[in-house]
């Protein structure tokens, strides 16, 4: 029978299936960070349990870490220090491989996993973070889990779940100039709604996906959770294999050819059937921006702020009224007329080398507008190093952007990088929820080029006008 990529990975990882359909799924790879894991290790310690297979995990600090240059000897927040100390202590006690803060490989788990070749096609990968969907870009089945589930994975190397339904999102046609994977993702979330993918595993297919780089595919898969689906994936192809080859954890020698042969067999069969299909025309996607407090609230940058009465559903209308009030917006106003205070470029969504290049391309020869604070946070130490080798840091600094150390930073606001109440931020992150980037802060999600365009113009701007 014809199978999807999801079916193939699922079927090859079932350790046991109960009569009720609940399955014990083997987990090949587990990423660990300091915010969601200490309580899981504590649980193991309290129960006298050990980690079943320590080398299947890889730990590093990312969420709560400052991004200032002096962070190796200065973390002001005692709670962040305690989380870091706990991660070090527990990974040492349970012999889980750990990338320390001082290591140049350190960064956001979802940037580092693929970068190290830790994420491989055909694997199951989990992490205590909802943006684990990122890793599906490499043809892995990857999804976020909670802390109790982390404890279960550490103790058993398995996860308990039911098979998801499948949903294929096909994006055909070529993307217009200035349109990125971020815009594709925002368009897909707007189409599906923030709960449209709940209970589903999404596979992205079509010409526009095939022509995306790995970085672009990771951005797209990363945002899958914002449509409610825990995992988003792309069938592995030559672009995937070229990206993986030579990375530290990737197979080498004879194993390489064998692995590629296996990975090729994973692609969704041409006549496989998905339970749901959605088609989006690539050529119709424009650079997008969110106006509300749900990632589904996005429109093309050329649009105006919507009116609550534009929404038929009464619950959504009520939510829109609340969002507009929180965001300080008036219906009918052009998005490009909104002045901004802050710009954040980074995160597991857009903290990769291509994102740094896109920001620098707009920043080059321009200056950050007066009164705007703009920050660029590379997703990992290796992204930072490469950007510096390419001179991108100099371009960005010359334009007036801050160039920081790697971490989650202002995407989640657990570390000191936050926006103030009432401030408006053009952000390449993934969530525009109330208070996400700082209490009372107003987030507009955009691509890196659009964020840089906002920084240099001082308002939300159409990147196509600056290219």
């Amino acid at each position: 029978m014809a199978k999807t990529l999801y079916d193939k990975i699922w079927d090859s990882h079932v350790v046991e299936e109960t009569e009720t359909g609940e399955c014990l799924i083997y987990i090949d790879r587990h990423l660990v960070q300091e915010v969601s894991s200490p309580q899981a290790f504590q649980g193991l310690r309290d129960a006298g349990r050990k980690v079943h297979r320590p080398t299947a995990s890889l730990a590093m600090p990312d969420h709560a870490m400052p991004t200032t240059p002096d962070r190796l000897h200065k973390i002001d927040d005692p709670e962040a220090r305690a989380q870091l100390a706990a991660l070090i202590e527990y990974t040492n006690e349970f012999e889980v491989p750990y990338i320390e803060l001082a290591d140049r490989r350190q960064g956001i788990v979802h940037i580092v996993g693929p970068e190290q070749g830790f994420t491989l096609p055909g694997t199951t990968l989990v992490c205590g973070d909802s943006h684990t969907s990122t890793h599906g870009a490499l043809g892995a089945l990857a999804f976020g889990i909670g802390t109790s589930e982390i404890e279960h994975v550490l103790a058993t190397q398995c996860h308990i779940m039911r098979k998801s339904k499948t949903l294929r999102v096909t994006i055909d046609g070529a993307l217009p100039l200035g349109v990125t994977a971020k815009d594709m993702a925002l368009a897909v979330i707007a189409e599906l709604g923030t709960a449209g993918g709940t209970g589903h595993a999404i596979e992205y297919a079509g010409e526009a996906i095939r022509s995306l780089s790995m970085e672009g595919r990771m951005t797209l898969c990363n945002l899958t959770i914002e449509a409610g689906a825990r995992s988003g994936m792309v069938s592995p192809d030559d672009i995937t294999f070229a990206y993986i080859k030579g990375r530290p954890y990737a197979p080498s020698g004879d194993d390489w050819e064998r692995a590629v042969g296996y990975w090729r067999s994973l692609a969704t069969d041409p006549d496989a059937v998905f339970e749901q299909e959605v088609v989006v025309k690539g050529e119709d996607i424009a650079p997008r921006v969110t106006w509300g407090t749900s990632p589904e609230d996005s429109v093309p940058i050329t649009a105006t702020i919507p009116k609550p009465e534009d929404f038929a559903d009464p619950d959504k209308r009520k939510a829109v009224e609340r969002s507009l009030e929180y965001m300080g917006l008036t219906p009918g106003v052009a998005l490009q007329d909104l002045q901004i205070d802050r710009v954040f470029i980074g995160s597991c969504t857009n903290g990769r080398i291509e994102d740094m290049r896109a920001a620098a391309a707009i920043a080059k020869g321009r200056k950050v507008a007066d009164g705007v604070g703009a920050m660029v946070v590379p997703g990992s130490g290796l992204v930072k190093q490469q950007a510096e080798e390419e001179g991108l840091d100099v371009i960005l600094r010359d334009a007036g952007f801050e160039w920081r150390e790697p971490g989650c930073s202002m995407c989640v606001g657990i570390n000191p990088d936050r926006i103030d109440a009432g401030q408006r931020c053009a952000s390449t992150s993934n969530r525009n929820f109330e208070g996400r980037q700082g209490r009372g802060g107003r987030t507009h999600l955009v691509s890196p080029g659009m964020a840089a365009a906002a920084a240099v113009t001082g308002h939300l701007a159409d990147v196509r006008d600056l290219n």
Partner: protein, 200 residues
């Protein structure tokens, strides 16, 4: 995990859609390395103003609802982040049961791992029950799989049989899975032969 059979208590209505886990437990409370003590922070921004004073209009700040054990909310409750701090906070506040037309997947799982029962009902059923959430007691019976509202009306609900069994008996997933260690090891041996690169 504490067993769950019959729960009687006040139901707090929160008729909002897409309540995300950042709303349930904002970022500043994710820095604890414990599972307890988060009840005071649950729904923080909606519950307290900038001076940390209670907002009287917020449901859980009203005397009739301060000891709520059941929350009845709008669709897609718990969307967003995987933070288990959200259910830890709800549990620490005193909630043992969530009722909504739909839940986000990760949040739903996290609740069950902590002994919080999530019940999915139709929009109409949720609306009807919300109308009765005036501070009187509701009873949720997991044995019988039914909710009794203050007016005595009974609403049946469905639940995955495994989840129900584990909740009723307070079973620990890890202990259950470790009983299958031989199967896990057999899986690993087979996979290692086929994909040795995953074991280097």
């Amino acid at each position: 995990m504490e067993k769950f059979s019959v729960l009687t208590g006040v139901t707090a209505p929160m008729p909002m859609v897409n309540v995300d886990t950042d709303m349930i437990m904002p970022k500043q409370f994710l820095k604890t390395i414990k599972r307890t003590g988060l009840g005071i922070s649950v729904f923080y921004d909606m519950r307290y103003d900038e001076t940390e004073a209670e907002r009287p209009e917020f449901i859980l700040n009203q005397d009739a609802y301060r000891n709520s054990k059941i929350l009845i909310a709008g669709r897609n409750f718990g969307c967003g982040s995987s933070r288990e701090h959200a259910p830890w906070g709800l549990l620490d506040f005193g909630f043992r049961c969530m009722i909504a037309p739909s839940f986000a997947d990760i949040f739903y799982n996290n609740c069950f791992k902590n002994g919080i029962l999530c019940i999915t009902l139709s929009e109409e059923q949720v609306e009807a029950l919300t109308a009765q959430a005036d501070g009187s007691d509701f009873t949720v019976d997991l044995e019988k799989m039914e909710i009794t509202a203050p007016d005595g009306s009974v609403t049946p609900f469905d639940l995955d049989p495994t989840r129900r069994h584990n909740m009723l008996n307070g079973l620990d997933d890890i202990a259950l899975t470790l009983e299958r260690l031989d199967k896990i090891k057999a899986f690993e041996a087979k996979q290692q032969a086929e994909q040795p690169w995953l074991y280097t």
